[in-house]
Every structure is written in C-alpha cells, then in structure tokens.
Symmetry: C2
Subunit: 377 residues, 2 copies
Amino acid sequence: MAGDVPPLAPGATIGILGGGQLGRMLALAAARLGIRSHIYCPETDRPAAQVAASTVAAYEDEAALTQFARAVDVVTYEFENIPGPVAAFLDRLVPVRPSPKALAVAQDRFLEKSFLRDAGIATAPFAEVSTSDGLSRALAEVGVPAVLKTRRFGYDGKGQAVVSAPEDAERVWAEFGNAPAIVEAYVPFTCELSVIVARGLDGRSACYDPVRNDHEQHILARSTVPAGVSAAVEARAKAIAERIVAMLDYVGVMGVEMFFGADGDDGLFVNELAPRVHNSGHWTTDACVVSQFEQHVRAICGWPLGSPRRHADAVMGNLLGDAVDRWRELSTEPDTALHIYGKDGSAPGRKMGHATRLFPRGADAESVERRMETVEP
Amino acid sequence: MAGDVPPLAPGATIGILGGGQLGRMLALAAARLGIRSHIYCPETDRPAAQVAASTVAAYEDEAALTQFARAVDVVTYEFENIPGPVAAFLDRLVPVRPSPKALAVAQDRFLEKSFLRDAGIATAPFAEVSTSDGLSRALAEVGVPAVLKTRRFGYDGKGQAVVSAPEDAERVWAEFGNAPAIVEAYVPFTCELSVIVARGLDGRSACYDPVRNDHEQHILARSTVPAGVSAAVEARAKAIAERIVAMLDYVGVMGVEMFFGADGDDGLFVNELAPRVHNSGHWTTDACVVSQFEQHVRAICGWPLGSPRRHADAVMGNLLGDAVDRWRELSTEPDTALHIYGKDGSAPGRKMGHATRLFPRGADAESVERRMETVEP
C-alpha cells in the first residue's frame, strides 16, 4: 500500500524532467527541506540547472535516462509535454510521480476531457477530430463558435484555432496541419479560476484557495486571490479539484483550470489539467508557509502535505519579455516579492519572472479589482 | 559616491566565501532574484555548493582566489573567521561587502569592543590581555567574575574561560594557550536580545524586530519574536544597531547581540557583532516578505533594502545534532516551516537545520513563554 512506503529522508535526491522556471522553483523548495535535485533537460544553462545538479541530454537518450534514474530516488516533471515513453521508461527504474498514467491523461486533451466526462465533471461540449469531415460532424454536435485544439503539445494559446461557422471547417482544418485534435464549444464565462490541489502518497489532499486568472494574448498575466467569487463557488471548485486527483490516484501538485459562468450548481466547467506546479500558484511562495513547490516535493517524497492556509491576499503578475526590466521599480515596493528566473535572454511573451503583491487578508470584490489594476507587468 | 553605483542586475553573480548553511540560504535567496552565486570554500560537497557553482580551494590559494574574483561581481562572506588578508586580496580585484575594514573590527573582540566604546555604545567592562600578568591587571580593572575570550576565532562558547577569582589568573592563562585575548566583566542580564540590521550602499538602514535568544551549552537554541521587552527597549536596541552600521559605513546584514539587564537608558550592553547573516534572523525567511538573506543580497548588490516588516510572531528552534531526526514530526505541523541544511553527517551540537513556528501577531509576554516551551529541538 502506498501509505506504507516510508518517506524519503532529507539527503534524498529528486529527479526533475525539464529545466525551466518551474523546475528551478521546485529545486529551491526542495533545498529548503534538505532534499537534493537533479535536473534532466536537453539544453545547457537552463534556469533549474543553475541551482542543482544536472544532466544535459536528449529525452530519447536511454543511456542518459538510465544513469539519471540511478542517481535519483524519485522522478517528477515540470511540464507535461515530455514524451510519454520517457516517463514509462523511467518508471520501470524508479518511481515517477505523478504517474505516467496521470501524465498520459493530462497531456492529451481528448483523453483529459473524456476522463472528466466519465467522472461526471462538467466541461465544455467537445468531440474528437482527425479529418476535415470529422470536424464538420463535430461542429454539428458541439455548435459554433468553437475552438479547434491539438490533442497534444499546446500551451499559451498555441495549437488553437477559432471556428466561427460550419462552412469554415475545411479551410481551418487545412491550415491547422492535420494533427489529431479536439473541438470544443465556446462556453460563455465570467472569469477563469484555477485551483492548485495536491495529493499525497497517503491519499490525503489539500487545496489552496482558488484564484482568478487574467490572460493577455493567451498568456497568463495575473492571478488574484481571493478570486472574488462566493464561498459556495470556492468550495465547489475545490471539491472538483479534489475529486479529479482522487480519481487519478494522483501524487503531487496539479493545476486545475476552470471557467466560471455564474453562481449555481452548473456554473463551473473544467478547462484543463496541468499535472505539475502551475503558474497560477506562484503566489503561494509568498503568502503561505508551504508553497505549491514545497507541497509538490512533500507529495512525491511521501511526506505529509503542508497546510494550504494563506496569511495574506495576493496578486501575482507575470513579468513577460522586457517587463522583467521593471525589477528596479518593483524592488522598491515594500510588500512585493520579486522572482526572476535566470533566463539568458528575453523575448516577447517569454516568462522571465513574476512579482507577488501581498495585502492584508479580507478583501471585498471591489478592492480585488483595484488590486488587479495595480499590477501591470 | 556609493549611492551613484548602479545596482547589479539579475544575471550578476555574487561570490560567497564559506560553504555552510548561511551561504546556502544566501544562495537560495539570491536565486529568487535571478542572481547567481559562486561559493568558495576549502571542503567538497558543502551545503552551499549543492545549490550554486563552487570553487573548492584553500583560502590561501591566490591563483584560485584571483579566478574566483574574475567570475563574480561582488564578494561577500558567510562567516567572520576568514583570514583578513584574503578579504584584502579580493578587495583589490572586486568589491568586497561588508568591507574588509568592517570585517577586521568584527573578527577581533578587542577591536570590536574598542570601536563600540569609542562610539559611545555600552558594553561590559573589558581589557586587552596578552600575558599572565596582564590578566591579573585586567581582572583588577574589570572585576570578577569575568570571562577570558580569545580575540579571534571564537564561536559558540569556544575559546572562552570563566575566571572566578583573581588568584586563578595564572592557571587559567596557562590552560588558555597564550592566544591574544580580552577579558570581560560578567554583566548580570535578564536575557540576550539580538537585532538583525541591514545597511544599503545608499546609506539607508533597516532593522528587523529584536528577538530574544536562548542558548543551551553556549549554542543558540531558540530565537523568539517579539522578544517580550518594552517598545522603548526595542526602539533603543534598533537605534544602537543602526548607529553601529552607520559608523562602520557598513554594507550588508549584521547580527548585533546584546545583553538586556533592565528597563532604562543603561540596560542594554552590546556583546558581539556578526558581520553577516545571523542564526537569530532565520525566522525572517518565513515571517517577512524579504528575509535577512535576501536583504543581504539586496544590500551587497546595491539594491534598495526590503521592508523588515513581519506578518507573524515566530519562534525559531535550531535542530542540533540528532534533533534533525525530528523532521518527521515537525513536517506534520501546519504552521511550522522546516529547513534542513544538507549536511552529510550529524554530530552533537552541529547545526543541521531549524524549524520556525509561526503564530498570529499580537503576543503578550506570557504567551511568548508558552511558545518557547513548545519548541524544544
């Protein structure tokens, strides 16, 4: 039984697939607990490798993967687009958490939505698409406007196309590149919420308070907590997230993105599962005793989960591209925590860092709006 | 003018002399800001080198020091017992902060106490000692009981001997090993306080709230904030600390240890200056937006200092020797932040980690006592 596995003690090493900022913040959190990190990624001098041991090798390099597996006590990942066979290969040598099965569900939009439907969790109407004719049939089923999305490897709005009318099907499909896809009906919504949920090896789970996310050009710009929705909606959002991780027998932190339409039992639709720490949970580093990063390390090491309680309200703003140059002014703000990822060059939309503004707890909706306006990275 | 020096931007590298837990926590704090660290220490696999680049070489190795200086933008240190000539050597190649001059004062108890006396800051009566006869003369001057301390390289009660009666002078001196020393009168005190103060390149300074320290066998066991003294005493302690860093033209974080006798203008005596981040400031990592570690990095990089405001009351307990095995139970406590240093073996009294328990702000003296009892690492 999973609950009987002894926790990894300080001095153990976690292996992290991926060398970006999420891996970096995982490694920094692990170091606090005396747990070492070993980064595996194909590129040199990535943000995570600056603060931990690292292997630079291709994901398909089985000799390097084997050596990596032998050097670590558990393997996790900081992004979901690692090749499925890599996770399965490693899982035969060392525990991989979250499991390759959960990864397989989360990295394929059709499997993900099908899992949610089977679990009785509301999503936008969706259908699988693999041909131009199939797209026409799917549009007839889910209605227009709809969004065509690749089943795999999409992020930040990449791999998506809007279909406004049934007669556009053939043209959109041709432009889209013929990758296996899913079409989703457009669901009117008031805002996007996300829940950072964690589940331990012992089967217990814990949710941070839901946040409200605002995007600019399909990239997360700001996350605000509290989200400004009713306590009932918050509780429902958390219950959905906890149900998802329980049904997947999940171990680790997951980001669950939801559309919020309106109060009531049918006002929340799950949009996407991220089987990893999530950008919309970065505020937890500064507003909670145990951040999402430490929480993930605790979970995959078989430790008890930490408390998700927050001591402050918070607005996290991403520093995209040249906005990272705002570090000078942000460093003068007394209640702002600044995080810069150590990337070697900025590009438009590239996530270079973030800033979290903290506020005393007890916001009303109006002051949340005001706070959001104060963060304009 | 110092204030005109531009701050080091993210991507810069700080060099840290010393590879222990203080260097480790400095490097972790620097990483959050996108600032790299390069550790210099004589031993392999030290805690700090696990989370940053490192050079393993003797402090006397001038070729290695030169290469180190070329790889970094500023040099700092995590302990005050580095050889003085090393700091001076590096300072000719790259800025060393705090300055070698401040280091020289803080690493010699006689220079330190003389500086404080000249600055009009109260200390225990003291006198320099370099011979057995000199000890007798000094005891006649400062009285007994008194404590004989080496001028340099003492820590955690090492290099100290109590002299209870004038006639013991010859025996104590013979046992002591004839190192240059200082004798200090025993000052009756209620408790030890310390203030973590920071001063930036621009000359501005900031103090965290004073803490009350409890020792066991001369090693810090617990630090508690608030300290349980009056607001007037807190303000005086902070004013003393800010005066010290101003007079030394100091840049960085300093730990100022004081004895508190009684309320009133003459109830505080400065015992020791630590020209670095300090064990009694570890609680700031979990109770403040900007920790003492980030504060030090900000100061030496020419950034504005962060706010020293705390959002919680806190008790920090050191995990000494085998007490580190308590990580299992401590990891189950909801408002406790656990820190383990990654050392390869425990020994009695060795600092292996610490735990900080957080409490809502607003303690009275009685509840502070209760809290201290709850932390028994």
